[in-house]
């Protein structure tokens, strides 16, 4: 797929970046103290903080990843929306006010408030860094995906661009500039996502969608044929692997997907230019309805016209509706050359509108994986360091509570929109089969260049806002938790700010490198792992500290370490890593669990309880 930036998209993008940098330098002179740098002085209004929460939380994973996942997998992507939002309930009811009461600059401050333990400082700082880096990877990856069509630049340039801009934002004014960048981005994301959904509903549904640039989705790539027709046209069958067939004609290769009834669908494929599974620029956008339930073929082709939100979903859920979904397969041909083949498959409307396309629940392992994912999403939000530090930017616990409610309202509304954005992309021929992260911006492109430019620029700002929050959290862990408090370097206020800026620079560089290495992986999937690590490493410690008086410092340290090691250990030895980054097969994994939460969260609780009971004589501070 060859998409190039238009002058308009470049101008809008430049305006966004200029506005963000202006904000950063405007606030720079007002954030000279450590409190100003790490916590925006604790004086942000709760309503502003609430929208900033949304700007912080609604990351590339939400806007790009979830919409992309819904576009290719249907309802399974929406599970992330539900889980991500539900996690805010834990934050509001259990965590918000106590975190504000106990903390100062970082999540570590709150955990350590009753103990003054170097072990907690070290463990919590490491946990903050691990979770932040897990979370940073998909954000940077999303930035690279955006810059390709927006500015016509390579993926790695986008990653570096985001890294540099965010380092400038954070270094300029820390949490103060980050707050207003997130506020701006959160507000714009909500407004323009609503507008885009409005366009989708106004267009309605059709089996002949507009697609990009007025062309049919998939271009010539969704040609239907029979074997005899291909032979008549001079195609020669040279290789068959499963349901995929390779034909040559006049020296050119084509791959076809064979249906059970003998029909062949022309597939898309990539070979030599593939990097981490991403296409080398030859793929056409795909995704369409083949049939709309309750309508004749002619009516379906003419389209429904504008529909209500309920009617939009009801049409897609209809048992007679047929949706074209695209599958990816890595295959080798008769010469042992490797190909990645993308082929269409027709499914009934009911299939993608319920859980089970990606997260199957047939076997016990699949059920455990599903429950594990939903646990991690539910318990992860309230344990994300970059979210927790936003509780220190408001004046009081009551303000922390109110800002969380504003966050729930705005984030919940956005997540409702994701279902329409993702499904809209799925049926409007705007899914890049090799990189579904671009589904929402490409959907916007089908409504014209202006909306695409605005949505892409907002998506880019989305990445900026979240990455800035993550880098503030990570730099706080390094400079405040590790250097100043754990290392007892006894830094002056000015030195703390300087150390934070240097740490921000270092974390930014790490993020850039990882963003380039992990190109092409669905951003929401990676964030799901970040949630699992956060839920395992941090939440048991937070909850037990608040609600179990026998908790000891050693118990908290044990809980964090066990949480990190077990969650990361399960992920790194699991099927997703073997089938993905390791280049092996899922069957070679050490165990079948793709999601660690169902093991690692209880294990972390158990570690805290056992170690606290064993070390109860050292429980001075809690009882004091």
């Amino acid at each position: 797929m060859n998409l190039h930036g238009t002058p308009l998209s470049i101008v809008i993008f430049a305006l966004f970046v200029a506005a963000v940098l202006f904000l950063s330098f405007f606030f720079a002179r007002k954030a000279k103290s450590a409190a100003g740098y790490y916590a925006a002085g604790g004086q942000i209004h709760w309503a502003v903080n609430g929208i900033s929460f949304a700007g912080d939380y609604l990351s590339a994973a939400s806007f790009l990843g979830i919409c992309g996942m819904i576009a290719t997998l249907g309802y399974d992507g929406f599970l992330y929306s539900i889980g991500y939002l539900a996690g805010w309930v834990v934050a509001l009811f259990v965590v918000a006010e106590p975190m504000k009461r106990m903390g100062k600059f970082t999540f570590t401050d709150a955990l350590d408030a009753k103990f003054d333990s170097r072990g907690i400082k070290l463990a919590a700082a490491i946990s903050t860094l691990v979770v932040s880096i897990c979370y940073l990877i998909p954000q940077m990856n999303g930035a690279g995906s955006l810059v390709e069509p927006l500015l016509g630049l390579p993926h790695w340039v986008g990653v570096i661009l985001v890294g540099v801009i965010v380092i400038v934002i954070v270094s300029a004014a820390g949490m103060t500039s980050t707050t207003y960048v997130q506020f701006l981005k959160g507000g714009l994301l909500l407004i323009f996502s609503t507008i885009l959904v409005g366009f989708v509903l106004a267009r309605g549904l059709s089996t002949e969608p507009v697609g990009l640039d007025g062309g049919a989705p998939g271009g010539e790539m969704t040609v239907e044929a029979t074997e005899s027709q291909l032979v008549e046209q001079g195609y020669v069958l040279v290789h068959t692997t499963g349901s995929l067939q390779k034909y040559d004609r006049d020296g050119a290769t084509t791959w076809w997907k064979r249906e059970a009834d003998g029909t062949l669908w022309r597939a898309q494929w990539t070979s030599g230019g593939v990097v981490n599974g991403v296409a080398d620029g030859v793929l056409e956008p795909v995704g369409r309805l083949r049939q709309i339930g309750g309508m004749s073929a002619a009516e379906a082709a003419a389209g429904t016209g504008s529909v209500s939100p309920v009617a939009f979903l009801a049409h897609l859920t209809h048992p007679e509706t047929r949706v074209e979904q695209w599958q990816k397969q890595a295959v080798t041909d008769e010469k042992d050359a490797k190909y990645v083949v993308y082929s269409p498959k027709t499914v009934t409307g009911t299939d993608p509108m319920k859980p089970g396309v990606k997260f199957k629940v047939h076997t016990t392992t699949e059920k455990l994986n599903f429950v594990s994912l939903m646990m991690a999403l539910f318990f992860g939000t309230a344990a994300l360091p970059h979210i927790l530090i936003r509780y220190y930017t408001v004046p009081s616990p009551a303000c922390a509570r109110k800002s969380t409610i504003v966050a729930i309202a705005s984030i919940g509304f956005f997540y409702v929109l994701t279902l329409f954005l993702g499904l809209g992309a799925a049926v409007n021929g705007t899914v890049n089969p090799a990189d579904n992260n671009m589904s929402a911006p490409l959907l916007a492109m089908s409504f014209g260049g202006v909306l695409f430019a605005i949505i892409s620029a907002i998506a880019f700002a989305t990445v900026l806002g979240t990455v800035a929050g993550l880098i503030v959290a990570a730099s706080g862990a390094v400079a405040h938790d590790l250097m100043d408090r754990f290392g007892r370097m006894d830094l002056t206020d000015r030195q703390k700010v300087r150390a934070g800026k240097i740490a921000a620079f270092a974390v930014g560089i790490v993020a850039i490198v990882l963003g380039i290495v992990f190109r092409g992986v669905n951003v929401s999937f990676l964030v799901g792992w970040a949630f699992a690590v956060a839920a395992s490493a941090n939440l048991p410690a937070i909850l037990m500290l608040l609600f179990w008086k026998r908790t000891t410092a050693a118990g908290i340290v044990a809980s964090i370490i066990v949480g990190i090691v077990s969650s990361l250990g399960i992920i790194l030895t699991g099927p997703e890593m073997f089938a993905g980054p390791y280049g092996l097969t899922a069957e070679q994994a050490w165990h079948p669990l793709g999601q660690p939460g169902i093991i690692s969260i209880p294990l972390s609780f158990l570690a805290l309880i056992v170690v606290s009971l064993v070390t109860k004589n050292r429980r001075v501070a809690v009882e004091g």
């Binding site: 100003g36 106590p98 009911t350 004046p395 969380t404």
Partner: protein, 99 residues
């Protein structure tokens, strides 16, 4: 005005009430959320494809319901917390812990 040092907010007489209320509401939501997860898992998720309202299946209705329910509970929680903060603030002759 915005960038004074982070400040501590002093004692909060309503904190015990808010903690108990928060735990109760958390458990309520937890049960409803667990119901969603179990419904998706039991019988291979077939219940989720049953049409329950205006052509929408249980998966969509329950999913949207969870999002809306979170907001409703949050508003109720805030209302009760704010009321208790005002009551205790008035009883103490101060303005309470509200924002």
């Amino acid at each position: 005005m915005l960038h004074e040092p982070a400040r501590s907010s002093g004692p909060d007489p309503a904190s015990g009430y808010k903690t108990r209320l928060g735990v109760v509401m958390f458990i309520i939501y937890c049960l409803v959320y667990a119901g969603f997860v179990l419904t998706s898992v039991v019988a291979e998720g077939r219940a989720m494809q049953v049409i329950v309202f205006a052509g929408l299946n249980l998966a969509v209705v329950y999913g949207f319901g969870l999002i809306i329910f979170a907001l409703v509970l949050a508003l109720i929680y805030n209302h009760l917390c704010t009321r208790r903060e005002r009551e205790l603030g008035a009883a103490a002759g101060g303005k309470g812990a509200g924002a």
